[in-house]
Symmetry: C2
Subunit: 234 residues, 2 copies
């Protein structure tokens, strides 16, 4: 499948590299190709300059947002949550129309330090904001509850841990679900929370997640849902 | 231990009944004893009138809030979150001074239906509000991530599922932790999130919890933390 990953950071690169390794035609979208390639800083988390990563991943092409959007059959939003709406506007609503838009981003506010607060929570979510902004895109919120390395390789964390998916369009969730299967997520561990308002619970969970990540000094953790045996799914 | 449970609803009764069964001296606090005993309605969740429950639990005594507070060495806040500050004011700041105050309440706003939103979230929590309102009480937030029947009997849910505890006072967390052990929570499944701001993550998680409860048609569920083996706790 032709996939555009929006975001040149660690999350975007891990997703793009894995998707390309699975045989998809993958591009990464950025605002300014030359500016992105000219960066020389390694960030606080050890993420190397983009060009260094690109040199090792010639199966992934860097394009400006709009070009990436035109190319793609499916778009993955892996941009910084505070910049997601702006980045997706640059991709272009017309390039998102009817396409599956897999949103893995988090609306994190780091201004108060760690663990972060959320810039939207409780009565709304980033997933809902994106769906409202691009009503003709078929937004699927998923993967956002785990670290990027775990998104693409769930076996890095032990146990039958759980992933969530939410979105208004059943076909779009099925398409996203196929990618989850390719990443290694067994279908019976992916819980469909229903429409895009399900994004709210998974984004709000991130406060606990980041606190646990700090406590255990790793982002490689997840939660496994345990249900009493007398329970029956609706 | 002399324990006052604040709240005459399902949560308070389950906790009080279990604590009395464990041999503690347990009272339940209410605003008006006669009014509470005069109620005749069974609520939407099937909770019987208080007097009917009381008749089967003569090891638990009903008292007005202030009297319950004076009696107690340890207080459990099992009131409706929207009423918790008012109920605890009626218990009396002087009756909470230096005492362990185990807060299991949730700041739920049901006005928009299920799943609920929270009346406080993201930059604050009910646990923090209670600690600020009663600075001399030693507030411990715990048990709030599971249904009351699971609070007092974790084996109702399969697996090595996880409980959280947060509070500013280490001795108070140790005291609360002893009660968790009596309820059946193994110490290695109780994660100390640090100071009372840890309440924020556990309260925010409840959006996801209530959505899962609706989806699986049971409140008897919990999450089990899974961590990559290379992780080391701080």
């Amino acid at each position: 499948m032709k996939i555009a990953v929006i975001g040149t950071g660690m999350v975007g690169r891990v997703l793009a590299g894995r998707l390309a390794g699975l045989g998809h035609d993958v591009v990464i979208g950025t605002r300014d190709v030359q500016e992105t390639l000219a960066r020389t800083e390694t960030d606080a988390l050890g993420t190397v300059p983009y060009a260094q990563w690109q040199a090792e991943h010639d199966d992934v092409q860097l394009m400006v947002f709009e070009e990436a959007g035109r190319f793609a059959e499916l778009v993955v939003n892996a941009s910084n949550g505070s910049n997601s709406i702006a980045a997706l506007r640059a991709v272009g609503a017309e390039n998102l129309r009817r396409k599956v838009l897999v949103d893995v981003a988090l609306p994190l506010d780091m201004s108060q330090g760690m663990p972060p607060t959320l810039s939207v929570a409780n009565t709304d979510s980033l997933g809902e904001q994106i769906q409202r902004e691009f009503p003709e895109a078929r937004v699927v919120k998923t993967l956002n509850t785990v670290f990027c390395q775990v998104m693409v390789d769930p076996d890095r964390v032990p146990g039958d841990h759980t992933l969530f998916i939410a979105g208004n369009d059943e076909d779009a969730k099925n398409t996203a679900g196929q990618i989850l299967t390719e990443f290694g997520w067994p279908a019976d561990r992916v819980i469909d929370l229903g429409d895009i308002t399900g994004a709210r619970g998974t984004e709000m969970y991130m406060r606990l997640y980041f606190q646990l990540a700090g406590l255990f000094n790793t982002f490689e953790l997840n939660i496994q849902l345990q249900i009493a045996e007398n329970a029956a799914q609706h």
